[in-house]
Amino acid sequence: MKLQLPNPGLEDRILSHQQLDKLEKDEAGDRPKWDNKTQYMLTCVGFCVGLGNVWRFPYLCQSHGGGAFMIPFLILLVLEGIPLLHLEFAIGQRLRRGSLGVWATIHPYLTGIGIASMCVSLTISLYYNTIMAWILWYFFNSFQEPLPWSQCPMNANLTGIVSECERSSPVDYFWYRETLNTTPAIEEDGGLQWWILLCHICAWSVLYICIIRGIETTGKAVYVTSTLPYVVLTIFLIRGLTLKGSLNGVKFLFTPDLTELAKPSTWLDAGAQVFYSFSLAFGGLISFSSYNSVHNNCEQDAVIISIINGITSVYAATVIYTIIGFRATERFDNCLSGNILALLNVFELPEGNITDSNYNQVVQRLNATHPEVFQQLDLKSCNLNTFLSEGVEGTGLAFIVFTEAITKMPLSPLWAVLFFIMLFCLGLSSMFGNIEGVLVPLQDLNVFPKTWPKEVVTGVTCMLCCLVGLIFIQGSGSYWLSLFDTYGGSIPLLVVAFCEMISVVYIYGIDRFNDDIKFMIGHKPNFFWQASWRVISPLIMFIILVFYFVTKVSEKIVYKAWNPESNTFPTLEEKPYPGWIYAIIFILAGIPSLAVPLVCVWKCLKSKKRDKPHLDNISDQIQMNNESKKSTA
């Protein structure tokens, strides 16, 4: 027995199949269209493939048992990612509306889902472009030799190097001091940093020029932004494999540790990574597929894009870990040479007496013969695996670990320029989808007058987002960014995705949906799609949502601060958030999630109020109608 919630009036809100065909034939309607299929595919691939594939997936892979992580990742890709993707493509293509329009069409009470999508897209657009500003800053600084993050600057009276840099490292100093100029706590705002402000304006300008006329300009931009990352990744792979120690990194990444599969956190992280990696529930994918022709094969598109996304994650992880392997081997070699030099100096042995191969024997011999001297030496322990497992993710990987590795390669400015161009393109193509998820609902809500041309609408939106994004340009900006990232971009998306599945399957009706797909692509979706849409995917989404919520609520809400005065410097200091942050967390995570039920209730009350006076005027007509129905029944 199929569960189907009553949905009167659905037929009137959507175009029938014949109307769709006519629309297609006459090329009527003022909806924008893709120039060709390639633009559509590249835009979707660009939206899905983003910074997370480069700096989140490799970390998860390495910390959850290497090659063994592929198993939960691939399983959840097939059971969760592909069905949701196909669902969003199909519903957008069928109803030919943006995300807000689609949910309002399915049932007016579901408008809350669209509003939640829009709020999340807006939150993420705000801080994502700040990351782009940081990438641009590093990009601009890559055009010099030596790179500014390869050495510490001198202090004011030129007697030595700056103390903060000496105690940490040149890359740390460049990131925390010369780029962010971070304050030690989130309460101190530190004022706007003018150099990042310039990069911020530049990032929003580049985004504006790409989306100025909607998909007309975006479709041209994606030819570069979606393909360039793959070219650069290949160049880095070839360069990386020729460096010493790169294979150590790759081996470390993919060595399977099957015991990790027993831990639920591995599966949870895999599910979350698949979900966020596909950029689902943003509304952008629904918009993009609504510009397609009605008979476009959305099933094939969903499968192809999912496979590309999965392969890109693995490819990027391989490339990143060749470079990390090189860096770890370099550190290990330096550690070992430092120890060898110390031994040679103290024991006055000729050079070349101690090599990497006889190091351990010599150390044992010297320890036995001169224990007191040896204790005083305080040699560091050098372990390659320790260096390899200094796993970093996120901005730490891109701006600290990778930049340090680049300074050790010959021709560093070239590699730095290539790397930051790649990151910029990855981020920009994701921003196209984010902004689409903001612009189209704003247009559907009639926030802007219809007479305004598209250029003005996109310009005003970009300018407003640029202004609000100034929060992240302050000294404490990076703390605000991680706050937004952790709470604004996680739970609401899971809620929206869950509601999307329920709405399409049980409120729109799985039968109607199957018929629509049969009309659009020629055959009914097979058993796999039926099972995953109806049961498997909603269940997985629900489990991930509950676990995520419980984990987030139960863990301590702390943030890591860069405090030169702390005892643990240069390790980041863990600090609790001030009390008023809880209000902000509620606004970020609670309001979009609550928008779904609240808008539903509000619409319900509004429609009840509207029906009442209406009934008084035409109550006679209704009575007549009822009576006539009874007589015919």
């Binding site: 629309l23 009527a28 010099q144 001198m154 530049c202 100096n345 006055e348 050079e351 041309p453 007509q621």
Partner: protein, 218 residues
């Protein structure tokens, strides 16, 4: 007789030798890492190299104290190790039993550090004078900073692109308006014709009426 002459000759150097001890207050320890610096092209450290070192140091002392005639014999070396490290002290040319002050030696070495390094094909890191820190090179800050130049180029290109796109869309709209006002006269005639012909051909599907159907059912 000959032995007496030999003893007399060796006496000054023997006297001077006792001034050089490891840890001497006016002496410095020197450490060379030739293999690290030169790898395969490393030279072997022998008596000749030591002579070169003493001569170079004498040169450094002469350069610093303009006028005082320092000689190779004024540089006394002791405690050589296989590591290639040793201690040295500098005796005054006027009186071989007194040592030149530590600070003066340090000044002299600092001044001519570059020349001493290049005599041995080594660097500050591989030819170490323990206790004399190498002077750091003054940093070169190019003005204007390079990042500002790249920013200017990118921002200029983007700004120009935005202006071009906005101008072309304004021009396009103007052109469309002109065409429309020309075409309106023709359109009125054709519209009258279609009304007369009835529903012979389907018109353009007008989506704006689709929502109103809900209300007409009443």
């Amino acid at each position: 007789m000959l032995e007496k002459i030999l003893v007399l000759l060796c006496l000054p150097s023997a006297l001077a030798q006792h001034l050089c001890t490891p840890g001497a207050s006016d002496g410095y320890k020197v450490r060379l890492s030739i293999k690290t610096a030169l790898g395969d092209q490393a030279y072997v450290w022998n008596e000749n190299e030591m002579f070169l070192f003493r001569a170079t140091l004498a040169f450094a002392m002469r350069t610093h104290f303009n006028g005082q005639m320092y000689n190779v014999s004024n540089i006394v070396v002791c405690d050589e190790t296989p590591r290639v490290s040793f201690w040295f002290v500098v005796t005054s040319p006027l009186d071989t039993s007194t040592l030149v002050d530590r600070k003066d030696v340090e000044e002299a070495v600092r001044k001519s550090r570059n020349r001493i390094n290049s005599a041995f094909l080594l660097t500050d890191k591989t030819l170490e004078f323990i206790g004399i820190a190498p002077t750091l090179a003054a940093p070169v800050y190019p003005d204007p900073p390079p990042w500002l130049i790249v920013f200017g180029v990118v921002m200029g290109a983007v700004g120009a692109g935005i202006i071009i796109l906005l101008v072309t869309s304004v021009l396009q709209k103007k052109r469309k308006k002109n065409e429309k006002s020309e075409g309106e006269d023709d359109e009125e005639d054709t519209r009258v014709k279609t009304v007369e012909n009835g529903t012979a051909s389907d018109g353009v599907y007008n989506m704006s009426f689709s929502d109103d159907e809900r209300f007409t059912k009443m």
